[in-house]
Each structure stands twice: as C-alpha cells, then as structure tokens.
C-alpha cells in the first residue's frame, strides 16, 4: 500500500467529535488527503477539511484528531488545511453516513436547497417533515430549527411521542 493510500485510510477512520457515529469522510468534511514532499525531501501528509457551519467549534478538535491519528500511524509531519470552497452541503453525507445516523436515532437530511439568485423567504413549515427515525411515522412536528449543534434541528414524533434530532439541509 502506498503512503498516500495508507494516509487516506487512517484519516478516513477519524470520527466527528460531535456526531461520533460518523467519520469525517462520511460527513463530507474531509475533502482530501495527500502526501507531499517538502523541499528538504521529507514526507508530509496534507489533509483538507471544510467546516459544516462557519462557526463550527469542532474544527480544532477535528484537526487535532487527524494529526494525532496520522502521527500514531507513522506520519510525523501532518498539515491540516481549511477549505472554504465549495461550501459544505448536507448532500455530501455518504450513504454509509446516513445509515449510521439512522441507526443512532437521528434523522438524515433530505436534499439541500441550492439557490443561485435571491433566496425566497420561507414562512410556512420549512420542509416536508422528516420521518421519525424510531417508529417510521411521518406524523412529526418541528420543535426548533436549531439544536444542540449547529447542524441539527429538533423534531418530535406525534405517534411514538419521542423527540429526535434531524440533520439540517444546507
């Protein structure tokens, strides 16, 4: 296995600090892993990550986790770069990631809006209500579009009466 393939594999196992059922790769936050050579001929792993939301406070922890894991795997030099473009979209969460979310009792996001021009005001319910990840009922109610982390909204199921978190479409 080439150093690059090994670095990709190691970085691909690092989990999101706030949604540990997902790897950074499944969340779509890990944008690339490469091995470069510095001018003095040393190998350096360059990992690129993008924030889910601009103010995401977990960026520092993600960076540190990537550095530590890669260090432990025998890559002493690691650089983590921030990528702002294109902006993260919930559409980038992988199928495996969506399954992991559902298994953990979270509702996975639907397709994101992609406005190019002026954004229309949404005054009604923001979207088709997500199905309850526990009982599958579609009789669910939005409690708040803002949840315990920037990327989640709060819903509750009017059938099984359980509250649940929904990963927002952005």
């Amino acid at each position: 296995m080439s150093p690059r393939d090994r670095a990709v594999e190691v970085a691909g196992q690092v989990r999101d600090p706030e949604m540990p059922m997902l790897t950074l790769a499944d969340l779509g936050v890990l944008r690339g892993v490469d091995v470069e050579r510095t001018t003095d001929g040393e190998e350096i792993v360059v990992a690129s990550i993008t924030p889910t939301y601009t103010g995401c406070p977990a960026m520092g922890t993600m960076r540190d986790d990537l550095v530590h894991r890669l260090n432990d795997a025998g890559f002493p030099r690691v650089e983590v770069r921030v990528v702002l473009d294109p902006p993260w979209s919930s559409d980038w969460i992988s199928e495996r990631g969506r399954t992991a979310l559902r298994e953990a009792g979270l509702s996975a996001p639907g397709p994101a809006r992609r406005p190019a021009g002026p954004v229309a005001l949404t005054l009604g319910p923001p979207r088709l209500a997500p199905a309850c990840p526990r009982c599958g009922s579609t009789a669910t109610r939005l409690v708040s579009e803002f949840g315990a982390t920037a990327c989640k909204a709060l819903y509750s199921c009017t059938d099984c009466l359980e509250p649940f978190e929904h990963v927002k479409e952005i």
Partner: protein
C-alpha cells in the same frame, strides 16, 4: 472516549495544548486558504471593508449571546445561541481576512504576545475603530426587540452576501457563499417569530410594534453606501448596499403584509455630521458592549487561552 488525546494532564505541563475540548490555543481560521489580494485592489480598502462586515457579525453575535439563558424557552435560547455562533464564525473569517489583506490594521500587542490577529482586532480596538452598523450595537430589549433586530439585520445581510458571492476576492466570495446558507435560516426564523408575535396576543403585538418603531430609525443605515463600499463595488470586490434596497424592501413588505403590521414612518437616525457606524461614529451602547467583551483580554494582552 476515544484514545486520541492521551492523558488530559499532558496539557497542563505544556506539550500539545490542543488536547483540551476546544484547544487552549487558537487556530488560524484561514489556515491553508489563499489570501492573496487580487491585482489592482487597494489593500487598505479591502481590510476596511472586511472589518465593516466582520464587525457587523461580531457585534451582533455579542448582543445575541447576551440572550443566553434569558429566552422565553429553551429551544429559542438555543436558536439565538446558534445564530450568534454562525455570526461569530463569519466574524472570525472576515477579521482574519482583514488582517491578511493589510496587517497595519491589527493593533500592536506586547512583543511575544500569542494573541492572533483576529483576536487583536476584536479585543484591542476602541469603539471609534469599529465599522459596524449601529443596529448591531443597540442594547437588548425584550424578545420582540431581538426578533425585529434580527429580522432587519438578516434580511439585509442575506441580500448583501448573495451578491458578494460574485466577488473577485475569492476569500470574500467563499465566506459569502457559506454565509448565505446560514443567513437563510436566521431570516426565516426571525420572520416566522415576527408573524407569531404579530398574530399572538394583544400584548405580544403591542411589544412587536413598539420594537419595530424603536429600531426602524437604524434600518436605513443597512442600505446606505460608505465610500469604501462604493469603491470596492466598482472594483468587483464588494457590494454597494444601496443595490440591495429593492430586495430588502420587498422581503420586509412581504413580512409586514402577512403580519398586518404597518411599515413604520420614522426618520432615519442621523449620524454626527453625517457620520454613522460605518465611519466609526457609534451610539453610547457600543462602548458598554466593548467594555464587557474586551475587559479580560485587555487585562492579559500576553495571555494564552
């Protein structure tokens, strides 16, 4: 717990301070991002422009943060904190972009101070050096007040960032593209609460109308043009806020029509000699806000957090 972090005590004896939950030191929010200023763009103007948009977000974020634990219920408390966090993230990028464009704007700190440029800009400038619109700094009132403030703010900022996505400065364009997604949620939340309060009880409607009247004089400043904004708009870097006026009015009229609340008829709050927040001329409220926000950082200019 995973075993990525070793012993938490390692952080106490030097070593890698990033082992703490959010790190005890800072990271550059633009690490690895190309911050080259496009050819022909004036560095000082670009920095001043980034400070205006960054200060809007920073000061608004600080006021929204003051709501923490004071909202009518937990969900709305969390909503306000989330919105504040989004804006703080935008402020960090914009202040860091200002520092990268023209390092002269960053206040000087004692030699060896580990305080990064974005923090030096946030904590070591005085009120007259802030370029935020005055709407952001007004002291908090009741819940209707914060809903009206956020509606006016987010309607304008969203219209501005939509256009800023086309900036020839790629950092600004990318910050804007991300901000549009966030502001869409902020604006929808504020607009829905506006309708809820308008259609709630007599008391909730009375408070809403009062807050709208009180804050309306600050609204024209959101769509007014500062010379730096005009100059950078011509260079393809910035957006002239006056070009957002039709869209801003259209969205606000939509909310007013649905809520049956009349558009207020109050004159704009004039600045001293025509100078407003963008010129660094602020209301008294900003000094109090900054005193609280900056006091700890200023007491320890070489502190490591």
């Amino acid at each position: 717990m995973n075993d990525d972090h070793g012993s938490v005590f390692d952080g106490l004896i030097g070593g890698d301070s990033a082992q703490w939950a959010f790190g005890t030191d800072f990271e550059d929010p633009l690490a690895g991002v190309d911050t080259t200023v496009p050819d022909g763009v004036d560095h000082a103007e670009l920095a001043a422009y980034c400070l205006m948009l960054g200060d809007d977000a920073l000061i608004m974020s600080q006021r929204l943060s003051e709501w923490c634990s004071r909202a009518p219920d937990l969900e709305e408390d969390i909503a306000l904190a989330n919105i504040a966090l989004d804006l703080l993230g935008q402020a960090r990028l914009l202040l860091a972009r200002a520092a990268a464009a023209d390092p002269v704007v960053v206040p000087a700190l004692p030699e060896g101070s580990p305080v990064p440029a974005e923090d030096a800009l946030a904590f070591f400038r005085d009120a007259g050096q802030f370029g935020n619109v005055r709407l952001a700094e007004v002291a908090n009132g009741d819940f209707a007040h914060v809903i009206v403030r956020l509606l006016l703010f987010s309607v304008s900022r969203l219209a501005l960032l939509e256009r800023l996505r086309a900036s020839i400065d790629t950092v600004l364009a990318h910050v804007a593209a991300k901000g549009v997604k966030e502001l869409t949620y902020h604006r929808d939340w504020a607009a829905r609460w506006f309708l809820t309060l308008a259609g709630g009880t007599e008391e909730s409607r009375r408070r809403l109308v009062t807050a709208l009247g009180d804050l309306w004089p600050y609204q024209p400043e959101l769509v007014a043009t500062h010379p730096v904004e005009l100059s950078l708009a011509r260079a393809g870097v910035g957006v002239d806020p006056a070009t957002t006026r039709a869209e801003v009015d259209g969205i606000l009229d939509q909310v007013f029509a649905m809520s049956g609340v009349a558009r207020p008829d109050r004159p704009p709050l004039e600045g001293e000699g025509g100078r407003t927040g963008r010129h660094g001329t602020h209301t008294e409220a900003l000094s109090g806000l900054l005193a609280e926000m900056q006091v700890v950082a200023r007491a320890h200019p070489s502190g490591r957090w």
